[in-house]
Amino acid sequence: MFKNHKYIAFETIVIKEVRRFVRIWVQTLVPPAITISLYFVIFGNLVGRRIGDMGGFDYMEFIIPGLIMMAVIQNSYSNVVSSFFSHKFQRSVEEVLVSPVPNAILLGGFIVGGMVRGLLVGAIVTGMALMFVDLQIQHPIITITVILLTAVVFSLAGFINALFANSFDDISIIPTFVLTPLIYLGGVFYSSSLLPPFWQTVSALNPIFYMVNTFRYGFLGVSDVSVGPAFVILVFFGVVLFSVCLMLLNRGTGLRS
């Protein structure tokens, strides 16, 4: 029995995950940087000039927190779902399943791997944004906490998707038909105050709406929602998804026959 075996196993999974997305950086790190830069140029610069102020800020400034959040959500999710499903598909997941790695450590390793990619892409996007505007962070602790929690929540969601996935189609359905609409309707490009009352109520049912607005509050000091309830929602989703992941792993869902 090796001393610190759980920590070493955890570190091994994280290193393996980070090494994977760094090895294919052209697929994992470059595309989001290009896509988000296009958003900055087209929506922020060209279209944004005609829109004018949004929520009391220049339109470019207004959309930057949302775009960073969008990059973190998409990349945390896609890193875990594609990596873990790829392990399942190649059966290399058996390497870890036959070893004495506890399920919580296995889950934690993949989640941290997803977070690292999400946050790295978020940092790249932030760097791109600095080329367009002079960013000021009003509430650094809130900004960092909300981005970390968001990365955790979407890494966990990606893990559940990977557990149930049986084909590569199954790992693109949720991002395409669920995640992307929720992000676009989550107030990345507009303030909910522009919406009619009915759609404002509908927006309140979208968890990403709270994440984007809380993150924007961290940057700009303004938000369409209260920060407290937004944190409660984030922590709630984090705890529920973590529990579901662990339960599925303990049952062996999608992994053990």
Partner: protein
């Protein structure tokens, strides 16, 4: 002697209702080189899957070195190394990273992991390939990589599920030597294979599994002692058109061509007796070789007997 594996009343019913294991019980002693044989779909891989926890058993108990696999997860997994039938490592990773990562999963400190990684990659002739992507390896190298990976934590028990399938003869022989050496150094080995010659060469004890049941569980020596017939291919120095009359000697023979024939005789017949038989009938032999693997005959015989017993229940 310590029991390496104790399986008791193990059953497995898959979600589709297929009953893969119908209450098997099996013991393998520490230090043994044990063969688990059976036709496709007999339950060999399911049994190995249960031992390695990739398959959840429906009922029964499994102990590895006296510890229950359900209640002593860490200890039993630490004692166990598994080489699966199918390639199951990432095709995009480097050879060395695959072995190092596996060591990490077992919680091995990096320095020790690096030493073990080098040790086993060298033993399995893969050290020169350590920085190559695994997908560039040949089929035989991929199998050896899986063995190196399974050994990196130096388990007391190694299970190999058809490790030499698709491997050329030369490599198979070198793998046999390696496994024999490993067994002699104290590692208990359980082997499933389709090459019955492999089991006969390597293993001391054997279990035959068929349709989810153990139909034979004995020593290799006792099993082979039960063999009562032996078949040879005889190459002739002078061609013949018809086979001679064998008289009262219990022989079955058939001409393959004018230069060779096949003959099945009682296993008790000595080589001298066999050659006397040929000389008395004017048959000049240029070469003689055993036709089929002895174990193969027994294996097929046992399966036929077992299926007959089940049908008669």
């Amino acid at each position: 002697m310590t029991t390496a594996i104790a399986i008791s009343d193990l059953t497995k019913i898959y979600a589709n209702g297929f009953e893969a294991l119908k209450g098997i019980s099996l013991e393998v002693q520490q230090g043994d080189f044990f063969a688990l044989l059976g036709p496709n779909g007999a339950g060999k891989s399911t049994t190995i899957g249960v031992l390695s926890t990739l398959v959840r058993k429906s009922s029964g108990t499994v102990e590895i070195f006296g510890k229950n696999v359900d209640s002593h997860v860490y200890e039993t997994k630490l004692d166990l190394g598994v080489v699966p039938q199918e390639i199951n490592f990432s095709q995009f990773e480097r050879v060395k990273d695959i072995v190092m990562t596996q060591a990490g999963y077992y919680g091995m400190p990096r320095k020790l992991a690096a030493e073990r990684c080098e040790k086993y990659l060298r033993k399995l002739d893969l050290w020169d390939k350590r920085n190559d992507r695994s997908r560039t390896l040949s089929g035989g190298m991929k199998r050896r990589l899986m063995i190196a990976r399974a050994l990196v934590h130096e388990p007391k028990l190694l299970i190999l599920d058809e490790p030499t399938a698709g491997v050329d003869i030369e490599l198979r022989k070198s793998m046999w030597e390696f496994l024999t050496e490993l067994n002699e150094s104290g590692t208990t080995i359980i082997l499933t294979t389709h090459y019955l010659e492999e089991a006969e060469q390597l293993c001391r004890n054997i279990a035959i599994i068929d349709q989810g049941r153990i139909v034979e569980n004995t020593s290799m020596r006792a099993l082979l002692a039960a063999l009562d017939k032996q078949t040879y291919i005889v190459d002739l120095a002078k061609p013949i058109e018809t086979l001679p009359d064998w008289g009262d000697v219990p022989v079955t023979a058939s001409l393959l061509d004018s230069h060779s024939f096949e003959i099945t005789v009682a296993a008790s017949l000595t080589m001298s007796g066999l050659f006397k038989l040929f000389l008395e009938r004017g048959i000049e032999v240029s070469a003689l070789r055993s036709k089929s693997n002895r174990l193969e005959q027994l294996f097929l015989g046992r399966l036929t007997d077992a299926r007959g017993d089940v049908a008669n229940v």
